[in-house]
């Protein structure tokens, strides 16, 4: 039966029916795993922004070069070549970004469901993980 209030217990079933915790050691391990998931979530948030920044620097020069070259370029082949290659480059960056976004959404929901177990230890694990993740990952944003 679903609990509707927070409680301290070393018994919980998390997310999957094989993740059945009924000992102190198991609970410690579960809190640790949930913490890792939450740190990962925060890391992916920052990682997505970093990826967008990098994609801009990786793709932008080729676009500006194209724009500069376009009025001068008379040959059809030379203008088609770089366009498709830069499109491919952009597409691969965008795919990586999309993948990160999907993982972020999925992890976010997983963490939400873990909190919904109303187990206080798990909840504290999520809070601690979020704090650690933010503390560690956010300064990495400014790293070039």
């Amino acid at each position: 039966m679903m609990p509707m209030h927070f409680f301290f217990s070393d018994k919980v079933i998390l997310l999957f029916d094989f993740w059945d915790v009924h000992s102190v050691g198991g609970m410690v391990l579960s809190v640790f795993v949930i913490m890792i998931l939450t740190v990962l979530y925060e890391g992916i948030k920052v990682g997505k922004v970093k990826l967008i920044q990098q994609a801009k620097t990786a793709v932008a020069p080729s676009i500006s070069r194209e724009n500069l070259g376009e009025p001068e370029g008379t040959s059809v082949n030379s203008s088609v070549g770089p366009t498709t290659s830069s499109l491919k480059k952009r597409l691969s960056w965008h795919l990586a970004e999309t993948l990160l976004h999907m993982i972020q959404v999925f992890l976010g929901y997983l963490v939400m469901l873990a909190v919904m177990s109303y187990n206080t230890w798990i909840f504290l694990g999520v809070i601690a993980g979020s704090a650690i993740g933010y503390y560690v990952a956010y300064p990495l944003l400014c790293l070039r």
């Binding site: 679903m2 967008i52 999309t98 959404v105």
Partner: protein, 192 residues
């Protein structure tokens, strides 16, 4: 009532015949519990991920998935709902940016006659609240909040098909709608 129906469906699904249930060694109920721990049971909430398309309630009281076809329909619908959500988020962002740009543009200091500087169309808070872009943003915000809660509640069913639909929809929406944004819009600098 719902339970009896469900049980029958379950028996048919598992390929049992009715004689099985009369044998004393094989309590159909216990068997049922043992084989399908991830099944919905008389409206009780599931607490772990499971693949199933029998008796899956979906948000509203009349909306219960009972067949594979209905699950496929729900999958597609939820996929597009999640896609719509991503699109809405990105659309709101770009709309907000556009209206902010126009406000900044409108409130440029304009040199007036005899050397005075006029602030053109500097709106008050009340005027900003009543402005069309803000009202539109508010309506879109309501839609976004409702849809995001729907998606959360769908994920909370722990039904793996529906969860996958939400994740894939979010991915597809992000892929298609942020494609344009990546080029046009400048990313706000996080480090100053």
């Amino acid at each position: 009532m719902a339970h009896a129906e469900h049980h029958e469906a379950h028996m048919a699904h598992m390929g049992h015949n009715m004689t099985d249930s009369t044998s004393p060694t094989m309590d159909p109920h216990a068997h049922h519990h043992a084989t399908t721990p991830g099944h919905m049971h008389g409206g009780m909430m599931e607490m772990t991920f499971h693949f199933s398309y029998h008796n899956v309630p979906l948000l509203f009281s009349g909306l219960v998935i009972n067949t594979a076809g209905e699950m496929a329909g729900a999958f597609v619908a939820i996929f597009f709902l999640a896609m719509f959500y991503e699109g809405l988020k990105i659309a709101r962002e770009s709309l907000l940016r556009k209206s902010q740009v126009s406000i900044r543009y409108n409130s440029m200091p304009v040199p007036g006659q005899n050397g005075t500087v006029l602030m053109e169309t500097h709106k008050t808070v009340g005027q900003q609240m009543l402005s069309f872009p803000h009202l539109f943003q508010t309506i879109l915000h309501i839609v976004q909040v409702v849809v995001s809660y729907f998606l959360m509640l769908i994920f909370m069913t722990y039904n793996a098909y529906l969860c996958i639909a939400v994740a894939l929809g979010a991915g597809a929406g992000y892929f298609f709608f942020s494609w344009k944004k990546a080029v046009v819009v400048d990313i706000t600098e996080h480090c100053h």
